[in-house]
Every structure is written in C-alpha cells, then in structure tokens.
C-alpha cells in the first residue's frame, strides 16, 4: 500500500468544513507543509482541535490569520491576539478546554472510551453543563471524547510503511491525535527506509497512518 503522497494531493482530500486535529504545542510539532498547503488551497469553515493557536504567523496561527477557522477547541489562545480578536468579535467560536482534559478527551476517542472522569475544573466555569460524578467521596467531571475527520501529524522521521518517530517536545499531542481521527495525514522531516526506525522507537505504528508526506526535494 502506497502511503507517500504529494503534499497537494494529501491536503486536497480535506473538504471545507472538516474537523481537523492538528498536532503541536506553540508550533513545535505542528506539520509546517500541511499548514502552508491548507492556506494555499484556501480551505474554509474548518473546526480545529489543537493545544493552542500559537502566535500570528506560526503553526495554527496561520490558519487563524487566513480566516479559515470557524471553530477552535483549544487550551490556550493567550499568545495569539488575532484569535482573541476574532473570538471577541464573534467571528470565530472558541471552546477553551484545560490542557490535560483536552489530551484525555482526544485519548478517550482514540482508545475507545466513553469519556473520562477528571478532577480538573470541578467547581469552576469549566464544569458548567457537565455531569459531576462522586467516586469514593471525590468529585470528578465527566468529559466526553473528542474525535476528528482528519489528524494532521508532524513526525521527526517516518519509514515508507508509515511508522512514525518523534523528537522531544515536538511529540506532545501528535501520538494521541493519530488515534482519534478517521484519517491520519502525517508529515515527516525525513522519510527513511523500513527498518531504520527500531520497533522500540516507533511512537505511532504504521497502521494508523493513512497518508504520508515528506519534504519534496528536487534532484535535478
């Protein structure tokens, strides 16, 4: 099965209005080529699930600036004044989720769980509209799974089968999101022969990856 595709073809599979999970934390571990190609193809009405909206001109911040996002589900927009402006102006809907809860909601979807119980947010505005459940005298919020149409993943290395290996803090939400979307598009800094990534170093096993994009090099 051929997974390595051209960047343009990978991104043209994403329709307007799609729900996207995008890996990364302040841009580190966000797939740069996929972001730029989304902007170039001018997608509209996207829902984006990601840790933050980075800064203007960085990572998910580029999608915000290009007015491609209708709704964002995220833990932090404080470093991107444009996201805050669009939220206050009512142009973009922003759902703020505690970071650990965001990770667990994504994990729950990918791991086949009906939800997670977390102490985070109990008694705060985050609890509004949610069920609080007592277990052994402690209160927990029931947080529901979060899934997507596409996960856009950034890896340090991939092999041709689609096994992914991550580097340091660029890992963050990427392995979780690769489990939680109907289709996974991974962008790798390097695509290496099968066998180069040892089994113990595989962060996302190849069966989860549908399409793989590398750096497009010209050898001419």
């Amino acid at each position: 099965m051929k997974k390595v595709v051209k960047l343009t073809d990978a991104v043209s599979r994403i329709p307007d209005g799609a729900v996207l999970m995008i890996g990364g934390f302040m841009g580190a571990g966000t797939p740069p080529g996929l972001i730029d190609e989304l902007v170039r193809q001018g997608k509209r009405e996207l829902t984006v699930i990601g840790n933050d909206t980075a800064r203007p001109g960085v990572g998910i911040g580029k999608l915000i600036a290009a007015r491609m996002v209708r709704r964002v589900i995220t833990s932090h927009i404080g470093t991107n004044p444009e996201t805050q402006r669009q939220m206050i102006a009512g142009e973009t809907e922003v759902e703020l989720v505690p970071q650990g809860t965001l990770a667990e909601r994504i994990r729950a979807a990918g791991f086949g769980l009906g939800g997670v119980l977390t102490p985070t947010g109990v008694g705060t505005v985050v609890a509004d509209g949610k069920r609080t459940i007592e277990i052994d005298g402690r209160s927990f919020l029931l947080e529901l799974p979060l899934k997507a149409d596409f996960a856009l993943i950034n890896a340090w290395r991939a092999d041709y089968l689609g096994n992914l290996e991550f580097a340091l803090t660029s890992r963050n939400f990427n392995p979780l999101m690769a489990m939680a979307a109907a289709a996974v598009i991974a962008e790798a800094e390097n695509i290496v022969p099968v066998g180069v990534i040892p089994p113990d170093s595989v962060g996302v096993p190849n069966v989860l990856v549908d399409h793989l994009v590398g750096k497009e090099r010209s050898h001419g």
Partner: protein, 218 residues
Amino acid sequence: MDEKTLIARRVALEFRDGDLANLGIGLPTLVARHLPPGIDVFFQSENGIIGMQALPHEGVAWNDLTDAGGSPIGAVPGAAAFDSALSFGLIRGGHLDVTVLGGLQVDEQGQLANWMVPGKMVPGMGGAMDLVSGARRVIVAMTHTARGEPKIMKRCTLPLTSVRRVDLVVTDMAVIEPTADGLVLKETAPGITVRDVLAATEATLIVPPDVPVMPITA
C-alpha cells in the same frame, strides 16, 4: 533587588532535593535560577519533558526542544520526553511534587484565580487548572497588589482556577499559608511591617504573635 527576584528567592527555599517541579511562565520561571546549593530539582515542562533547563549557550537551540511558551530550552542529562497525556498524568496523578504559578487573586479559602479577566483578557487556562487540581503542593508567586489594589481578597471576584486550597502564597510583602481556619501570615518581607501587609490585604489574615522576616536564598 526587584520584587520579582525577592519572590523567586523566597519560593526557591520551598524545594526539596529530588523534587519534580513545574514552573509557570513568567515570574515562577525565575525560581529555577535561585535554588539553594545541594538542592537538585527536576523541572517538568508540560509540553512533554522532565529535565528542562535554560539554553546552556548560544547555538544549541532546536525547534524540537522548547518550553511551554514555545521558546528553545536545554535538557539535563537524564531528561525524559513524553506525550501530553503522560505529561498531564504526571500532573493530575500525584507525581508532581510542586508547582509554582502566578496569580491574579487568592481568597480567604485559599482558592486561586489566575486564568481570565472576563471581557478583558481571556487567554485560556492552558495547563493551570490541571496543575492546581493535581500537584501535591501548589505555591502561588505573585505581587501582593496590582496597581495598588489588593489581590488577596475575601472572595475571588474572577473565575476560579480550581476549588482546591493552595498551599502557600509568596508575595513581595509576605508569605501567607492558607489553612482550614483561614489565611495565616507566616512571614513579612524585609522592611515590611505586619501593619503594611494588613493595609494591602482585603482578606482577613490570622496574625500569630511572632511573625519572622522572610528568609531568601543567596
């Protein structure tokens, strides 16, 4: 010494050798520079690493080794990297010994508000709600007042970060310990009297007969 350095040097005395600690961006980050000799602390960055340190020198910045603000960092020998679920499992699961966070308000119940000012500033909670709910010890490091207005209140007027009672509040004027009975004034900053602290605090403070002067690291 400026007020932030004073706060950082007092907070630094709260660490135990071998602690796993998470420092918020800004003032709390200063604490790492003032640890007493012989105290080795592993610093977690919630974007997925234990063993972060400041960039050791120029020319070693790498896009894949960053702090929670997206700035390049270094890593100590023995560092470990992991995904966001494990990172927050460490935080919520009782594995994080101490977190130091900034604050907008703390109230008589020891509850903290530090993530939004409705209508003015809505940055999002990031990891703060998980940190305050889950860390074994929560230390708030903040200036005692903001533009002359008290930040230690009878009741927080801003949305809470957590209903959990924080463990210690360190300001440029005082060290305050929230307890089941209320806020106890533990120490005053050099040159600050108990009366000064009371005048700058809206909440009722429990004042023991003897309130020592705040010690700080060298």
